[in-house]
Symmetry: C2
Subunit: 252 residues, 2 copies
Amino acid sequence: MTVSHPLDKATRLTETVPGHWRGEAIESYSNMVEAFGGVVAASLLNAVQCDSRVQGWPISQTVNFCKGLALGPYEIRSRLQRSGKYTQHWSLEISQSGTICATASVITGQRGQVYSHQPVQIPSVSSYDACQPMPPVAPVKWLDAYEFRFVEGMPVMAAGGLETPGSARTAVWMRDEPAPPLDYLSLAALSDGFLLHLLQVRGIMVPSGTVTLTTHFLASPDEIAAQGTATLLGVADSRRFHGQFHDQHMQL
Amino acid sequence: MTVSHPLDKATRLTETVPGHWRGEAIESYSNMVEAFGGVVAASLLNAVQCDSRVQGWPISQTVNFCKGLALGPYEIRSRLQRSGKYTQHWSLEISQSGTICATASVITGQRGQVYSHQPVQIPSVSSYDACQPMPPVAPVKWLDAYEFRFVEGMPVMAAGGLETPGSARTAVWMRDEPAPPLDYLSLAALSDGFLLHLLQVRGIMVPSGTVTLTTHFLASPDEIAAQGTATLLGVADSRRFHGQFHDQHMQL
């Protein structure tokens, strides 16, 4: 990512003492009033990637969102919990004025090649060029930092909501706007770039937010580099909406 | 769960000071030489469920396995990172002699009913009675603590491995043996009860283990109680085996 890309600015960190980082949540990736969760995830991952102790590449990240991150300065504290032959385990917290806004764990690992097999198939969907960009849906800055072209599952709001629940399935072409060469940080941010499926199922705006986000990085660094600025296809579905929570599983 | 069930003994904790717990990894849930990861997950969850500060019910748990937990005593340290109107965020570590064996995060939440919709369908598979119990496959104690009846995806070992990769899909009837009434702890343990798919795909024993496990609890407490001792159907599949890691997503 070039230094001029907004995501680079949004995730930039300065180490104060080992394991302590400072950054700033900027307006260009704001949600209603606070920071877009995807950029919070990418910033936490960046605290691992920038650490002099890091070995290997991101394998998995879980971010638990406790409280919205306000625009402005924040602190990240990271701890290297264990460093083994194949993996490292990191625990992180992001806070403002001493209040924790999110906790996270990151696993990095060696990606040496021993065996490769991919049962999953790329879904057969309409091409990027055949789909229209999503029109502005909400006065939310971070949406402008991406381009979304829905193949299916674009939320349609209906007065009073939909009578029959809409499909929970989404297929959408996604890319950063402007498009940087793909890297782990932009992938981490895109992981939270799916609109909450409750919107498309109910067809009505209801207060809701991401509580926890787990991202497994199945691609090795060479594959991510080879992706360059090409648009990504994201497919997502939900299994169950119940008791104030719902799941959402996504593939990029 | 009655006090006589082995899982109850395996996950029993004593609070020493607030947020500090002691337990013991027992032989009846051992893996090759160390503790079965599912029981580690259940024990960590139990440290939240037994805490006097807990509000609500488990929503999501992530466990990162850093190092095998040896049989014998261990300590759990839990921190309530944030307690809000709807959710609580917990961070935990399980250690032996000061060395961290696993880190975890748990989110608990209120399960008040506002909206319910379940797009996912129960898969149409052969009944429990029509399937045969899995024969002993390895001298691993924890396997004896469960009954597995495979509908599909039972690993078959072949000398030198399979020429063509086997299917990564699994459908299996699972229950604790003996069967306790289902609760969050037994669900947390069962979440790690799927054999690693690398075995069925390659048809050969290779050293491998769970690195990170995220479990989303989509059922509310009344539904879990209603399940009683009935056998659970587990379905699982993998998307990609590459660069020394593979994913596995499971539904119970």
